[in-house]
Amino acid sequence: MKLLDKTLVIAWKDILSEFRTREIISSVLVFAGLVLVIFNFAFSGSRQEMLALAPGILWVTFAFAGVLSLNRSFIQEREENCLEGLMVCPISREAIYLGKMLSSLFFMVIIEAAVLLVFGLLFNVNVITLPMVMLTLLATIGFAAIGTLFSALAVNTRAREMVLPILFFPIVSPVIIAAVNASELMLNGAVWSEMASWIGIIAAFDVIFLTASYLIFGFIVEE
């Protein structure tokens, strides 16, 4: 089997198990909904004000929901001792990383799609546009790339759930800064060229950390 096939097998395993157990998506969706509702209590205002606050609310929700679902990615493997099973499989560490990354990306995209929908409904701001969806996808690749690496790291430490956000948030801060600013421009109807430098930062982040995590992942899971 080639690397791609093996990667897809790992990703498919996660997706299949998720559709049987419905552990990650359902609980993270409820969590994301709650975050949105809490934001509504914190900042209820006119439509114009909501439009100004929307990018911040959206990306905080995405980041929180993302870290929650990324945490589960390896905790599940650990709880059932599946990680040992994966390690003895004739599959390279790189394939495991890419597979886990893809499945996390898949879950996060589903969650984010739902958040965008609910957000549009609750806050009466149209956020489902092609540029918004593209931006979300691009930023989520970065989240998943570095999040999968740190999730594997966090699950092997004593504090597990606490370690991932502490590592994840400062590292993804450039993505969050860029995504919030790009969304702000998008919601105000800016053209692509105005957002190019923000998109560039996110794209650079994706490339750098996808490559770095791919190369470094083997050091995290070695026994």
Binding site: I146, L149, L153, N156, T157, R158, A159, V163, I166, L167, F169, P170, I171, S173, P174, I177, A178, N181, S197, W198, I201, A204, F205, I208, F209, A212, S213, I216, F219, I220, E222
Partner: protein, 233 residues
């Protein structure tokens, strides 16, 4: 006769050379900061903190660079001395970046009347502060030494790779939301000289601290090995 005396004198002080040299440089730097350098025409006396703030920032970044080197070397060679070097350097870098943030606050207060402004440099340093705080939290949460060193090395590498991206993002962010610029006047020769002496003095201080921390960590490691031998662990 004189040369003999000089050589024996040199042999005696060789061990302390860096300490003596560093102390002299520090004293000279303090003299330059408070007396030698002219007061900045625009922002006044508070601008003198610049000569301490910038060397602190330089050392913080340099220390994290050494952590990067130590981290890569550990993953490559699997020799724990590299892990000790990386963590010793990160400790000093963390101390210096903390001091740099504090000196930034002290600088901001009289100039703008607030302790904190989201300038590009301060924002970036704050993010770095959090990254290296995470570095130590990770170390504290793992008891197995091999795993601790490996995981810390991963964070040390990823954290450093992130610096240019954080920098690009906050630079762009502060140009789009125009903030305030701390100090942009041209530097006179005296100002440049004071800054250069400061940079050298703090670099010597870093080297001394790093050596001490590194040696201490080596002793600790030896002690642990002996303990394990005695208790049969």
């Amino acid at each position: 006769m004189l040369s003999m005396l000089l050589i024996s004198f040199y042999r005696r002080i060789k061990k302390y050379f860096l300490i003596i040299f560093g102390t002299l440089l520090m004293l000279a730097h303090l003299y330059m900061v408070f007396i030698f350098v002219p007061t900045d025409a625009e922002t006044g006396i508070i601008q003198r903190i610049f000569y301490i703030h910038v060397p602190l920032a330089w050392i913080a970044f340099f220390a994290f660079f050494i952590t990067l080197i130590g981290s890569i070397m550990f993953l490559w060679k699997r020799d724990f001395k590299w892990d000790r070097l990386a963590s010793a350097s990160a400790e000093i870098g963390f101390l210096f970046i903390t001091l740099m943030l504090i000196s930034g606050c002290i600088w901001a207060k009289p100039v703008w009347g607030v302790w904190w402004v989201w300038t590009a440099r301060l924002t970036m340093s704050l993010v770095l502060w959090f990254i290296y705080a995470a570095y130590f939290i990770i170390r504290a949460y793992i008891s197995e030494p091999g795993q601790r060193a490996r995981f810390a090395a991963v964070v040390g590498i990823i954290g450093f790779l992130n610096i240019p991206l954080v920098f690009a993002a906050v630079e762009l962010w502060t140009t789009q939301h125009p903030g305030m610029i701390i100090f942009e006047g041209g530097l006179t020769t005296e100002m440049k000289l004071t800054l250069i002496v400061g940079l050298v003095a703090y670099t010597v201080l870093y080297a001394l601290l790093l050596k001490d921390r590194f040696v201490l960590k080596n002793f600790k490691n030896e002690l642990n090995q002996m303990k394990n031998l005695v208790t049969g662990g």
